[in-house]
């Protein structure tokens, strides 16, 4: 019997690569919240990989996970992106508002619910930038949409993961948020209770193996616990 993985959508590229090297793995992608709710509703997932620990907590409370199988898998960085010609930016209120211009907006995932938005909000607050930009945000349902807004020139700045920033050749990273400015960005994985726990556990080990990590790192992710 094959293994079914429910994984955060942002992992699609490297996970698909790894899946090709494994026997009989099916990966299903969606937003972390959606996946978690589905697992709670009895989805046929054997392994979950989510983009935010909160939903992992919810799964654990629901007793849906194989105890002890939850691991920190990957980490990531949040950065500010802007069109190529934009100079690098200091993370100060003045520099930010200057870069936004009179009516430009900062594209960002929903700050209350999309993981990148949640981390971004924490960072902006801790760096005392929140008051300057909180009413200049354009919140989107996914990091991808935020990226698209900047790529299409609708927004002069976007707050996205470093992994996303790599893929738009027209954009460049103009600032990086220090790791301490927000809770650690953690992609966690766990085995779901069920008949396929062993195979899922094996796959999880494969993801954590050096070959597995190579694929993730190749896509711009950082190994977990490594700032």
């Amino acid at each position: 019997q094959g293994v079914t993985v429910f994984a955060a959508a942002s992992l699609k590229e490297p996970l698909d690569q790894i899946a090709l090297t494994q026997p009989d793995v099916t990966v299903t992608y969606a937003g972390s919240g959606t996946l978690a709710r589905q697992v709670m509703a009895g989805a046929p997932a054997d392994l979950v990989v989510l983009a935010h620990p909160d939903w992992m907590d919810a799964l654990e409370q629901d007793d849906a996970l194989l105890p002890g199988s939850r691991v920190d898998l990957l980490s990531n960085e949040i950065v500010l992106v802007a069109p190529q010609e934009t100079p690098a930016l200091d993370l100060t209120p003045g520099a930010l508002t200057d870069a936004l211009g009179p009516d430009g907006r900062l594209a960002i995932g929903l700050t209350a619910s999309v993981p990148a938005g949640i981390y971004g909000r924490q960072a902006l607050i801790s760096l005392d930038l929140w008051d300057a930009v909180s009413n200049r945000l354009a919140e989107t349902d996914s990091v991808r949409s935020a990226l698209a807004l900047v790529a299409r020139g609708e927004a002069p700045l976007g707050l996205v993961y470093a992994t996303d920033a790599r893929v738009e050749p027209t954009l460049k990273v103009v600032a990086r948020f220090p790791q301490g400015s927000h809770a650690p960005i953690l992609y966690q994985a766990a085995v779901v209770r069920g008949e396929n726990e062993d195979a899922a556990q094996a796959l999880l080990l494969a993801l954590q193996s050096p070959q597995g990590l190579t694929a993730f790192v190749g896509a711009g992710f950082l190994p977990a616990g490594q700032p």
Partner: protein
Amino acid sequence: MTLGLDPATWGAVLLSLRIAAVATLCSLPLAIAVAWLLARKQFWGRGLLNGLVHLPLVLPPVVTGYLLLILFGTQGPIGGWLRDTLGVTLAFRWTGAALAAAIMAFPLVVRAIRLGFDAVDPGLEDAAATLGASRTRIFATVTLPLIGPAVLAGAVLGFAKALGEFGATITFVAAIPGQTQTIPTAIYGLLQVPGSDGAVAVLVTISIVLALGTLALAEALSRRMQRRIRG
């Protein structure tokens, strides 16, 4: 015969067609019945039924998806009952995708058919009754043929909506490749991958071609029906 598409994409296309077709055909009889009730009958709860039918239109699709998950999931009251008595599981199966598509399309189909009922001259049904036809026969031989174009219009709308349904589907049955991954959920997945614009374009083109094909077919059918009715 995969038209040069990779097997996964091709599978999503076939699955989408199957889901849309099943969703449309299976919901049609119920849609006709509901449209008839709403168009012709006054009863307690009529407004509520009308509201219920339209709900999937007003709610964000994700909410509909969650409601489906709660009701029809294996843990849900209806889902549990279906599993225990009929042995049918919907959640995370293509049948569930069809259910989601059908429910999302339902308001469109019902509305179109209801407009059809409103346009039928009751005098013709009276005439059939004087000729001794039972209610069933009147419905089958007079009303139904006369609302034919409206039913077709509803079916086309429903089919198109079912082909395009995304939010409720991905929430209720996820996007499991080969089992529940449809064209829209495949597009969604691709959108998450850097540099996959080409693949997205291919899938969008397929969607457009499917839509145009369906519409052309429906137009031809509809014209023939109209000609039958108008003479």
